[in-house]
Amino acid sequence: MTESPASTGLHPDPVEIPGAVVERIFEPTRPEEVGRIVREAANKGDGLLVFGGRTRLHQANPAREIRFGLCLRGLSGIDEFEPEEGVLHVAAGTRIREVREAVHAEGWALPLDPPGPSSTVGGTIASAAVGPRAQSFGRVADAILGLDLVGGDGVASRCGGRVVKNVTGYDLAKLYCGSFGTLGIVTGAWLRLHPKSAVRRVFVTQPGPGLVEFDRHRRWAGLASVSALVWREDPEAGSRQVTIELAGSEEGVRHDHAWLSDRAELVEVEPDEMDRIRDERAAKGPGPLALRVRVLGTECGAMVQRLLDSGLAVSVDPGPGTIHARGRLAHPEALLAIRESARESGGLAVFERLPDTWRRELDVFGLESGHAALHASLKARFDPGGILNPGRFEAGGDRDGV
């Protein structure tokens, strides 16, 4: 294995993931080093755990045969930023926060909003993690113009480009995004930016209980200036609150604020309140369970009620129909029933945190058995040695994906 400062001994900050503790960690600082490390690992059949800011390491199936860690934090920095064009090229290990600040200074907004202050660009792409602003920012894949990668064979490649419209070849970035680093290692990305809003104001309001009240607030998420709307409820604490972020032009925000004020008692809070709520979702607890459920908008209220009735606390983005639930359930079967119900409502359920004993029984992602052959075939072609995050994005034989 290639010499690297961190490879010669045990890493001072080992990585603990479901299924393994990784103490030998490589920290390349250039994409070519990533290629060399992966080639050597492939030659020896050594499994690699690829990670960035460690924010979502727990959000995957148990690892299998991982020998080394490959930390991409050393690939850092904005290589090219074109304020005239609203695009930039950034190294994968760069923290989202750094990019956000850099582009804000030039009048742009980074349309990536993953939970967790340590989130990196590469980790956000690998996990396709979105935050409460997904309703205005869109999916992670929507922000990607092009990617630089290292494949499971250690060979560097590119897909996409740097322009804002492109159908030159397959849209491989869509496949890499959300594949948890199992098809290739993202080393850099061209991203498109959104214009920065002239005004951003955040308000809270206290809604009443029940489905009718939920649906009333859900519809507010469709207002043009609402960049995020979060409904939070904790049955144990007896708390319920809606937080609304308005962003855009002065006229637009003023108009929607007036409209909302006619319908609810709004209290203005700090403009970074939505960031706090977003990052809260990456933190541990309360309880050993965290799941993310997506359902159709019209089904969202019923699903929220079901989760509340199970005793879970929820943080809901009613616009895209995303529910983050936390707490404790008595049996893994209860989780599977929630997943089945989400599927019937047109969506999915991802078990983002699980007690270790449940992990062996449950597939975190609910991967569809009908696509297992395609999934395995694609993985084998992109990572023939099976060394990239082995086990973490596949449903094992002993797990039940429903």
Binding site: K165, H375, L378
Partner: protein, 487 residues
């Protein structure tokens, strides 16, 4: 140019296809196939072995299995409006034409989605949901004829992709017949299936991964307010610079389109005449939509950007009639260009928008050097150029100059960080130019995806990815076995 005649079709295969779709929907006799020898790329016509028009997903699957049993390749086709030859068949392949699968199966206004068959015409979907205050946002120029299935294959765009994105942003789930005849469903109604984003990979795959037989699409609320502006410039370069200023201003118009002098002349001399002044060197059409209270402020910023680049005048549409007149200059352009020459080669490339002024000058220089008539009408807000070369394909010398100029235009666009297609796709037209953008390892990754679905390339062979021979030669001018002939 030679049109290769279809060989005598194998009776047993035809019998089986007729047995699946009925005699009225299986075409194989000489004369029946003429309309299917090419799509919107008319430069390399080839007559397929047969054309079948299935009505159901099950029929598509049975057709695919029949083709496999007889060792024949097959090519999916929508309305045949594609401009890169993505639906070109070969003489020994079966064309599977999806126009009979044209039903809107479900509309869910509460969740703003619809489930449609692939043969639904793009504009008709928007018409079908208009009474609900919704529309289907991707609006390719051929939207009165092109189908959702073809749009999915090509990841079609249109003038309003600047704000609303391309087809990929509006497809939630798909049903597809795989190249081995199995029927699979991908994605779900929330647009986020567990596992790999198969839907994202299939959209824009030009029918090389399978045949889409059903799609769940996202619908968009019709904006409350719309404003359309027409800015008149002395020349196209100034109009491009104004586009750059608009982008920097933070306004995201729904559309920003430029029409150049030659196109204006053609439009004004045609039935599409929009009443544009003869002095206009270029016009910039800007459409803004959204909350009406925001639009006045955005209009002020557009005015400012255009004035700073010396525009002659800016008109604001006062009603729908005027809006239609403004758009006539853009939408009637291709029809009007028919007056300039018998044939039109519609190119498609994208550059970073900051390079638009320089690349436009370069394209003009290339076409002048090859003594070709050039007209430009393009999606300036996306940096998506459509240099239209007017020519007569019966003149072999002119045709050769068209092809050479086209290659130089693509090279010039790539040299400034651009790509060789923004919305028309690669197909057979640009397959051998893929090396301008991607190296062998990039193309190898694309091949891996294709092989996952379509290992023997029986489904839509010869499209998008150059053959390995050309990978080795890395010669952008090298042309494949079914490439566009020169002369």
């Amino acid at each position: 140019m030679t049109i290769v005649a279809s060989p005598t079709p194998p009776t047993a295969l035809i019998d089986r296809l007729v047995g699946i779709v009925g005699p009225a929907h299986c075409l194989f006799r000489e004369g029946e196939l003429f309309a299917y020898e090419c799509d919107g790329l008319t430069l390399a016509p080839r007559t397929p072995l047969a054309v079948v028009l299935p009505a159901t997903t099950e029929e598509v699957a049975r057709i695919v299995r029949a083709c496999r049993d007889f060792d024949r390749s097959f090519v999916p086709r929508g309305a045949g409006t594609g401009l890169s030859g993505g639906a070109h068949a070969t003489e020994d392949s079966v064309l599977i034409e999806c126009s009979r699968m044209n039903r809107v199966l479900e509309i869910d206004p509460g969740n703003r989605l619809a489930v449609v068959q692939p043969g639904v015409v793009n504009a008709e979907l928007s018409q079908a949901v208009a009474h609900l205050g919704l529309f289907y946002a991707p609006d390719p120029s051929s939207q009165q004829a092109c189908t959702i299935g073809g749009n999915i294959a090509e990841n079609s765009g249109g003038p309003h992709t600047l704000k609303y994105g391309t087809t990929t942003n509006h497809i939630l789930a798909l049903e597809m017949v795989l190249p081995d005849g199995r029927i699979e469903r991908f994605g779900n109604r929330v647009g986020e299936g567990p596992g790999f984003d198969w839907v994202g990979a299939i959209v824009g795959s030009e029918g090389t991964l399978g045949i889409v037989t059903e799609a769940c699409v996202r619908l968009t609320p019709i904006p409350e307010g719309v404003e359309t502006l027409l800015a008149i410039f002395d020349d196209v370069v100034a109009a491009c610079r104004a586009v750059g200023r608009v982008i920097r201003s933070g306004v995201v118009p729904a559309a920003m389109e430029i029409v150049d002098r030659r196109t204006i002349e053609a439009v004004e001399a045609s039935v599409y005449a929009a009443g544009l002044p003869k002095s206009a060197g270029a016009v910039l059409i800007v459409e803004l939509d959204g909350n009406p209270v925001c639009l006045d402020g955005e209009i002020r910023l557009i005015h400012e950007a255009c004035r700073r680049e010396g525009c002659q005048a800016i008109e604001r549409a006062r009603n729908d009639e005027e809006r239609t007149r403004f758009w006539r200059a853009r939408k009637g352009a291709f029809g009007a260009m028919g007056r300039l020459a018998p044939d039109l080669y519609v190119h498609d490339a994208v550059v970073p928008r900051v390079h638009l002024p320089a690349i436009l000058e370069k394209i003009c220089e290339i076409c002048d050097r090859y003594r070709l008539k050039l007209a430009n009408v393009f999606h300036a807000g996306d940096g998506n150029l459509h240099p239209n070369i007017c020519f007569d394909k019966r003149d072999p010398d002119e045709l050769e100059r068209v092809m050479k100029a086209g290659a130089e235009i693509l090279e010039a666009c790539v040299a400034v960080g651009g790509v060789i297609s923004g919305e028309h796709g690669i197909g057979v037209e640009k397959r051998d130019y893929m090396h301008l953008v991607f190296d062998d390892s990039d193309l190898e990754c694309m091949t891996r995806l294709r092989q996952t679905f379509n290992p023997d390339a029986a489904c839509n062979p010869g499209k998008m990815i150059p053959t390995p021979r050309f990978c080795v030669e890395a010669n952008p001018r090298a042309r494949g076995y079914d490439a566009v002939p020169i002369g």
